[in-house]
Amino acid sequence: MSTIQLKKFEYYEPDTVSEAAELLKEYGGSAQIQAGGIDLIPRLRSGSIKADALVNISNIPGLEEIRYTEGEGYRFGAMTRLRTLDFCPVLKAKYPAVQAAIHQITSVQSKYMGTAVGNLCLATPASDVAPALMAYDAELTIAGTGGERKQKLCDFYLDYRKTSLAQDEFVTGVFIPEPAANAGDAFFNRVRTHADIAKITVAAVVTEKDGVCTDAKIAVGAAAPTVIRIAKAEDLLKGQKIGDDLFMAAAEEAERAVAPISDFRSTAEYRREMTRMLTYRALQEAFERAERSER
């Protein structure tokens, strides 16, 4: 047990997004946004991050909202808890891989407290939520003192635990576009024990027509400094007749695209091999679901 006490900080509960952004600007990088706090508080305690101020955004109206518009897509806010998403019937019906990625998170308390946006903003390569959202081409809404901007999740990560966020910016919400009617998805990960973070995560979202792949998005976690999309494998799939040989060729591209490390959870070799195997299985499952959903 860590006996270290938290260091002192100032604590704010802003009422608006612009107040929060102004605070971030004022503190010039020494303030931290607090949503659920399940990662933030332990990391402040361990000293791996420091803060002169916490900006708790849970009182800002509207940030907990979920809104789904048929034909357009699904939006949720920075304060939407993982638990709410886990039990959202629309998410489960429309974006099953996203719901599966959230559901398999073991700690129920972490899901009651934690937010999906918080998880994304940790910028850990071992996120399960990020690959699923990235495969669905999710887009972030980012607020700062100069206003709002949008950015695709696949462009958000710069390096290990590094995002495109400027000092005065924070993510206020996520938009997941409506999947095509003939889309199918899959989510796979491998863990040491269920309470641990993933050794490797793969998510895929595909569409097919008459046995031909019309679109494919593959995202892999815990196999590079950030969660990544595998563009080469996606390109290889598009326009091709689907089948096991094609899936394996794409899976081999995925294996070549990752740059995993060896650590106490796994070796780089295992992660590379599992990138291939899980990509292969994810494509099998995603296309199977796509074929079933075709009307």
Binding site: M1, L6, S46, Q109
Partner: protein, 166 residues
């Protein structure tokens, strides 16, 4: 906008239906620290203090939260339930009694968190399946019982509480 300076503050908290006040060194003090060290409610345990073990679980407005990772100032005005709040008039809560009757308590360190998780589960879902129970206590570590007796205790509590309501 609400602001708390780095200086000490007097915080009012509603714990187990009672208004309580505590003098904090600043807004950085966690709910677990306030409960245990300021209010003397040591039923709430802290094992890992990094949100991994679930032993510090309390209910905030009925929602299970890890009190080691919650700032006390952030839950002002909310209803906090700790293990001390479950027994009424010297009589144990049916979940507590079921834990004893099922032999689900050995060292007892995980029990407050487990029992509060069980309470949150049974309020939401009075007749959970075994899988639902397992999933619900997935974030609570027990290093003694191997979980089987804890799962049995929650099943027993569900049965007894279901009968009580009928």
């Amino acid at each position: 906008m609400t602001k708390f300076e780095k200086s000490s503050l007097l915080l009012m908290l509603k714990v187990n239906g009672e208004e309580m006040q505590a003098l904090l060194e600043g807004p950085h003090v966690t709910l677990a620290d306030v409960l245990r060290n300021k209010l003397g409610l040591t039923g709430t345990k802290e094992a890992c203090r990094c949100g991994e073990c679930g032993s510090c679980t309390v209910l905030v407005d009925g929602t299970p939260m890890l009190s080691c990772s919650v700032l006390a100032v952030a839950v002002r005005g909310k209803e906090i339930t700790t293990i001390e709040g479950l027994a009424k008039g010297g009589e144990l809560h049916p979940i507590q009694q079921a834990f004893i009757d099922s032999g689900a308590i050995q060292c007892g360190f995980c029990s407050p968190g487990m029992i509060l998780m069980a309470k949150a589960l049974l309020e939401e879902n009075p007749d959970p399946t075994e899988l639902e129970i397992k999933e619900h206590i997935g974030g609570n570590l027990c290093r003694c019982t191997g979980y089987i007796k804890i799962i049995e205790a929650i099943q027993l509590a569900a049965k007894r509480m279901g009968k009580g309501a009928a």
